[in-house]
Symmetry: C2
C-alpha cells in the first residue's frame, strides 16, 4: 500500500512561453562562445525558427557550426558524424533545435564529445559518461518530453536495435519552449505527438507502486491533453491550444509521473520501437497501435488498474469500455490503431519474429513469447 | 486565454521513502567534512531522529557543530546566532533537521555564512546573496514544502515583520523525506500541516493566468490531501497515509502548481503571517481561519474561479457551497476557522491595525483597507 521509495531530481531550467527564444543568446553565452548547432529537416529554416536562433547567436557574439539532417527516427551514424565534427571544431556546448529526434541525438553527441566515449557504447548501456557538454534546447515539437529529462532514444541500423539510454548528465541545462514554434507542425505529427505524451503518462501509470497522488496527477495530464487535442486538431495554428499540449508533453515525462512508480513500465514503447525499426513508422503512430492491444492483453491481469484509468479519463464503468474509449480517442485524432491502418496488414509475422528476437518486455509487466503472438494478432 | 510565460527550475534532489536517511552520511560528505547541524525542539532527540542523523555523520567521518532551539515561528535572532557560530567554526555546509521553521532558518543561515550578508538584509529583500553554502535537509514535518523550494519565511520581533524571501541559491541541494519521521507529529500540527499544504496549492490556484493543466494538477493534489487527511487524523502513525501527505506537501509548493500562475496570489498567507506575528499562532492555524474569510470576500469578484475549485474538490454546484465545503473540511480535521476558535475573539481591532500598517495584499488580488475590515469581521 505504500508509495515506493524514489529519488526526484531534475535540474533543467525550462523557459516556457511566447518569445522566450529572445533570451537564447545571452543564455547560451553563459556556457560557451562556440557551439555545435544540431537540427533535422529544412522545416526549421522554412518557418524561420533557424533564423531566430542564429540571429540570437550572432547578436550574442557566439560562434557556431552546424550539423543538419537528423532523421525523425534518429540513427547512430548521424550522432557519430556530429561528434567527429564537434571534436574537430572544439565546441564548448551543444544547441539542439528540433523535436525529440534532434534533442535525443544532441544528448548523446554532447556526452560523447565531453568524454570521448563511442556513441553506441553509450546508447547500449556499455559505457556511462560521467559528464557532458552543456546542452541547450529549442523545442519545435510537443511530444517526447526530452526537453526536460535525461533520456535519449537512438537506433542502430546495423544491429537492428532502437534503444533508450538514461543518465543524469544528459539533462539539458536550459530548454526554450515557445508554443509558436509548434503551430506549423502538420496534422499527422501533431496527432503522433499527442499520442506519444499520453503513452508516456500511461507507461508511468502502469508502472509498479501503489495508487497515490501521482496517479491523480498523471490522469489530470492525460485528461487535459485529450480535451485540448480535440480542439487543437480542428485549429492547428491556435497558440493557446499548442501551449496546452506543449506543457502536457513536458509534464508527462519530466519525472513527475514516475515518482513512486519504479520508473514505469515501458513495454508498449518497447513494442513501438520494434515497429519503427522494421518499417520506419513514426514513433507516435506505433504507440496508438500498441497501447490498445497491450491493454486488451492485460485486461484480465490488471482489471482494477485499467478501470481506474477508464474512470478517471472517461467515467467508464467497465474495463472493456476503458480500453475502447482510449482507442476511440486515438481514432478521433486520426491516429492509427491497427497495423492495417498504416498498410502493414501482412507484416505481423515479421514483427512477431522481431519482438521474439529482441525479447521485448516491460519493466513491471513482463511479456512472454505467447504474449507476442496475442499482441501481434490484436494489433493486426 | 494563454498560459502565462514562466520559468521552471528546481535543482533539489529529493530522496523519498522509508529508510532514505541511511544514505545521508555519504551524501553530506560529497559537500563538506564539517557541517552546522540546525534543529528546533527536543522532540527530534526524543524520537531518535537526531540519533539517526548524527550516527550518519559519525560513520561518514563528518565533523559537526550544533545550533538548537529554532522556534516554530522562527526568529531572526536565532538565525544571526547560528551564522556567527557557523562562521567561527568555518563550516562547509548546513544540515537542517526539522520542519519549515528549521529549514527556512537554515536557508538564510547558509546564504549569510557564504556571503557575509546580514541575515535580515536578506530576508527583507535588501541584499541578495549570489551564493550559499550547500544545504542538506532532513524533514520531520509535512507542511511547508520548503524542502524543495527556494523560499524562507522568518520573523523579526523588533520590526514586527514576518517576511518571505525567495532566491534560487537557497534551493536545498538534497532533501531526505522519510515519512516515518512524521509519524510522531501530534494531531494539531498534523492538521496545521495539511491546512498549510492545501493553502499553498490554493495560493497558486488563485494566482494570475488562465486555466490550464496546472489547475487540474493543483486540484488533484488538494483532493488527494483531503482524502488522505480524513483517514490520517484517525490513524496518526500510519506510514502510508503519512507518505501520502508528505508527497502532497512537497508537490504543493515545489514550483509545479505555479507554472503559468505568475507566482500565485499569497494574500491569505500575508494575513496569516500577521496573525502569527501578533499572537504567535501556528502558521497552519492562521490559514484555516483566513482562507474561508478571503474566499467570502472574493466571492462576487471571482465566482467562476471559486466554483471551479468547488466543483473539482467537492462536486459543489454553487460558490457558497464551494466555500462552505472547504470550511467544513478544515473543521473536520480540527483546524480552527475563526479567531474565536483560538481564543482571539476580542483581537480583531489589533489585527485590523496590523493589516493596515503592513499594507497586506495579494500579488494578484489586491486588498484594500475596506477589505481588511470585511476580512477581520469574517474571521471573528
Amino acid at each position: 500500500m505504500s508509495i515506493q521509495n524514489f529519488t526526484a531530481y531534475n535540474p533543467t531550467r525550462l523557459h516556457f512561453g511566447r518569445g522566450v527564444v529572445e533570451a537564447l543568446g545571452q543564455t547560451v553565452k553563459q556556457y560557451s562562445n562556440k557551439v555545435l548547432l544540431i537540427y533535422g529537416k529544412e522545416s526549421v529554416k522554412k518557418y524561420g525558427y533557424y533564423d531566430d536562433v542564429v540571429k540570437q547567436l550572432g547578436n550574442a557574439g557566439i560562434e557556431w557550426i552546424e550539423y543538419a539532417g537528423i532523421k525523425p527516427n534518429p540513427i547512430i551514424e548521424d550522432v557519430r558524424k556530429a561528434v567527429a565534427f564537434g571534436n574537430e571544431n572544439k565546441v564548448g556546448a551543444v544547441l539542439a533545435l528540433g523535436g525529440g529526434s534532434v534533442i535525443d541525438s544532441a544528448k548523446i553527441i554532447a556526452a560523447s564529445i565531453a568524454t570521448g566515449l563511442e556513441p553506441w557504447d553509450i546508447v547500449s548501456w556499455k559505457n556511462h559518461p560521467k559528464k557532458s557538454l552543456p546542452l541547450i534546447c529549442v523545442l519545435t515539437l510537443a511530444a517526447t518530453g526530452t526537453e526536460m529529462n535525461a533520456a535519449a532514444v537512438v537506433q542502430n541500423e546495423k544491429t537492428k536495435e532502437k534503444l533508450g539510454y538514461v543518465n543524469p548528465v544528459m539533462f539539458p541545462k536550459e530548454s526554450f519552449l515557445d508554443p509558436q514554434y509548434t503551430t506549423t507542425v502538420p496534422s499527422d505529427y501533431t496527432s503522433y505527438g499527442i499520442v506519444d505524451l499520453i503513452a508516456h503518462a500511461l507507461e508511468a501509470f502502469y508502472g509498479a507502486g501503489e495508487p497515490s497522488v501521482i496517479d491523480k496527477i498523471t490522469l489530470a495530464i492525460i485528461k487535459d491533453a485529450m480535451e485540448t487535442a480535440s480542439r487543437l486538431m480542428a485549429d492547428l495554428s491556435n497558440y493557446d491550444l499548442r501551449a496546452g499540449i506543449m506543457l502536457d508533453a513536458t509534464l508527462a515525462l519530466n519525472g513527475l509521473t514516475s515518482y513512486g512508480k519504479a520508473g514505469g513500465d515501458w513495454g508498449v514503447h518497447g513494442i513501438g520501437h520494434e515497429i519503427s525499426l522494421l518499417f520506419d513508422t513514426p514513433h507516435g503512430a506505433t504507440l496508438s497501435i500498441a497501447y490498445p492491444a497491450w491493454l486488451k492483453l492485460q485486461k484480465e491481469r490488471i482489471p482494477e488498474r485499467i478501470l481506474t484509468m477508464g474512470r478517471g479519463l472517461f467515467n467508464a464503468t467497465t474495463v472493456d469500455e476503458s480500453i475502447s474509449k482510449l482507442e476511440e480517442f486515438f481514432v478521433s485524432i486520426h491516429a492509427p490503431v491497427t497495423l492495417t491502418d498504416i498498410g502493414l496488414t501482412d507484416k505481423t509475422q515479421e514483427l512477431l519474429a522481431q519482438l521474439t528476437r529482441n525479447k521485448v518486455s516491460g519493466m513491471h509487466h513482463t511479456l512472454t513469447e505467447k504474449d507476442y503472438k496475442v499482441l501481434t494478432k490484436l494489433m493486426q
